[in-house]
């Protein structure tokens, strides 16, 4: 690629100005857009992975997922702002993930487990009502404790240059940490005894009980892992997307968009769906119109629903 095709900033500006476009299409802009799309996509994927993972084991959709994202972002803010300082942001992120994990581990047996005492047909209703109630409770709690204000944990990460392209330090850090978290998740699921038991429970709850495994304990662990992924996403994105009581709402919607794109219950679906959503949004915002950023994801959802109603990796009749 030569500078004349628009690789250097001044060249692209020049080209755009010469043709009188308001939107500049250049290779540089494309690369930058794709990069930032992938970066944010991985964080969306964390959310979606959490939703899908909880569903595949506990067999319920946690509508309060965004509120665990919110909890993660608040812990991050408190840890960075009051306790550790900007330099220890990564430690704060680990604390945030661990904190949300604990909240999940405590809440699941109290709120979700009673659903299994009910007849099969009513379980979904029960779980839906309970998790939506939890959503409202946690949001109100955030308002009560921190007010309706927006907070932002300090970030002193320098801008990172990827080739000639500048990227916000916090964004790159979030991306790298999200990749690390995905790697840890993969190792836990594939290589540990708990992971083996969790995979078994996802396939057959009854058989796992017959094997002598306490499936309700696995439920709590799965729920905690799922919400910890959301909490981690909240912590990592806090310097970029701010900390406030309803900050989880948008990411929850995106999480569910990804689930529709990738297919409910599919882990690869959550990852690929997350990346696709990130790409669709950033490409749409850069090359079509940025105020409609959130619309492009929904367009993608509609296309997927038309072409593959069960999602890219979904299996027909999984619930049967």
């Amino acid at each position: 690629m030569t500078p004349e095709t628009g690789w250097l900033p001044h060249a692209s500006r020049h080209l755009g100005a010469a043709k009188g476009w308001t939107v500049i299409f250049s290779a540089e802009l494309l690369v930058q857009t794709v990069l930032s799309g992938l970066m944010v996509g991985v964080l969306y994927a964390l959310m979606a992975l959490g939703i899908t993972f909880i569903y595949s084991i506990v067999k319920t959709i946690n509508w309060a997922m965004g509120e665990f994202y919110m909890i993660g972002s608040y812990i991050q803010f408190v840890a960075v702002h009051y306790l550790l300082g900007a330099r220890w942001w990564w430690l704060a992120a680990i604390i945030s993930a661990a904190g949300t994990f604990l909240v999940g581990l405590i809440l699941e047996p109290i709120l979700i487990k009673p659903m299994y005492a009910r007849p099969m047909q009513r379980r979904d209703d029960y779980a839906t009502v309970v998790t939506i109630a939890l959503l409202l409770l946690l949001r109100s709690l955030a308002v009560a404790l921190g007010g309706p204000n927006q907070y932002r944990p300090e970030s002193d990460l320098p801008v990172v240059w990827i080739g000639p392209l500048p990227q916000e330090g916090a964004r790159v850090a979030a991306f790298v940490c999200a990749l690390l978290a995905l790697a840890v998740f993969w190792i836990v699921i594939k290589k540990t005894w708990v992971g083996l038991a969790l995979r078994a429970a996802a396939q057959n709850r009854v058989a796992v009980q017959t094997s002598g495994v306490d499936v309700y304990r696995l439920d709590a662990i799965a729920f905690a892992i799922g919400v910890a992924l959301a909490g981690l996403a909240g912590a990592l994105l806090a310097p970029l997307f701010m900390v406030f009581p309803t900050n989880g709402a948008v990411t929850t919607v995106k999480g569910f968009e990804i689930i529709v794109i990738g297919g409910l219950g599919s882990i690869p679906g959550a990852l690929v769906g997350g990346l696709l959503l990130g790409l669709a949004e950033s490409l749409g915002a850069a090359f079509i119109s940025s105020p409609y950023q959130n619309v492009y994801g929904f367009l993608l959802v509609i296309v997927v629903l038309i072409v593959r109603p069960d999602g890219l990796f979904g299996e027909r009749g999984r619930e049967a």
Partner: protein, 245 residues
């Protein structure tokens, strides 16, 4: 161990107006292989479900080796040595045959860990003639092989003392059937495990079970050797209808 292994006393279950199990009392001695037979709808599977914690009891009690099991969750009952199979084999289809066997072993938290589990799994796969399929996902197995795998998985629980097999021989081919019979005889003779086998296959029941219990309409109707109970008029009537009586 001098006393009975399993003591189920007055076990009762109602579904609405239907009494599925009416004060069922069954005792199984350590190392015994007991048959549980009866026409369809006699309540055999309901009884098995209550034994293994998949249904609650409306009345009665269940003890294993003298310790009460009543009200415990299914996984704890299994961990204490009362293990079962299902009529429709429940295996983990996306996992390899070997992984299927490791899960119950590791769940028990045996000190031997994965290495001992692998060795035990290898033994069982050899006895059960599933060796060549060890690394295959369970989804490729035939119905009979799944049943065999399910049975093997139960033996991987180190504490298993009483193994309840619910219709293990239904609809499986003769080769797999023989492998399953061999497995049961082996585990009974060399490891002293007791069995309660629910089956309609009288030839196999005669071969494996010195004593059988007959359930009819939710009650224990007879107990004894297969030939003894087969002569009882109420048993004949339940199986063949009143015209034959």
């Amino acid at each position: 161990m001098s006393g009975p292994l399993l003591e189920a006393e007055g076990v009762t279950k109602r579904f609405g107006g239907l009494v599925a199990n009416d004060a069922v009392t069954i005792t199984v001695a350590p190392g015994e292989v007991r048959g549980l037979i009866g026409p369809n709808g006699a309540g055999k599977t309901t009884f098995v479900n209550m034994l293994t914690g998949f249904e609650t009891l409306d009345a009665g009690s269940i003890r294993l080796g003298g310790a009460a099991l009543t009200g415990l969750p299914a996984n704890q009952i299994a961990a204490r040595g009362l293990v079962r199979t299902f009529q429709v084999a429940r295996v983990f289809s996306n996992m390899s045959v070997r992984e299927n066997l490791l899960i119950p072993f590791l769940a028990a938290g045996s000190p031997g860990g994965v290495r001992e589990g692998q060795a035990k799994a290898a033994d069982l796969l050899a006895t059960g003639t599933l060796e060549h399929l060890a690394e295959e996902p369970a989804s490729v197995l035939s119905g009979g092989q799944r049943m065999l795998l399910q049975a093997c998985a139960g033996f991987m629980i180190p504490a298993v003392r009483l193994y309840v097999l619910d219709e293990p021989f239904a609809g499986i081919n003769p080769v797999v059937k023989d492998a399953l019979i061999a497995l049961i005889e082996h585990e009974n003779k060399s490891n002293g495990r007791a069995f309660l086998i629910v089956s309609h296959e009288m030839a196999i029941v005669r071969r494996l079970c010195p004593r059988v219990t007959v359930m009819i309409q939710g009650r224990v109707a007879a107990e004894g050797t297969l030939d003894e109970v087969a002569r009882r008029p109420e048993v004949v009537q339940a199986y063949l209808g009143s015209a034959a009586a």
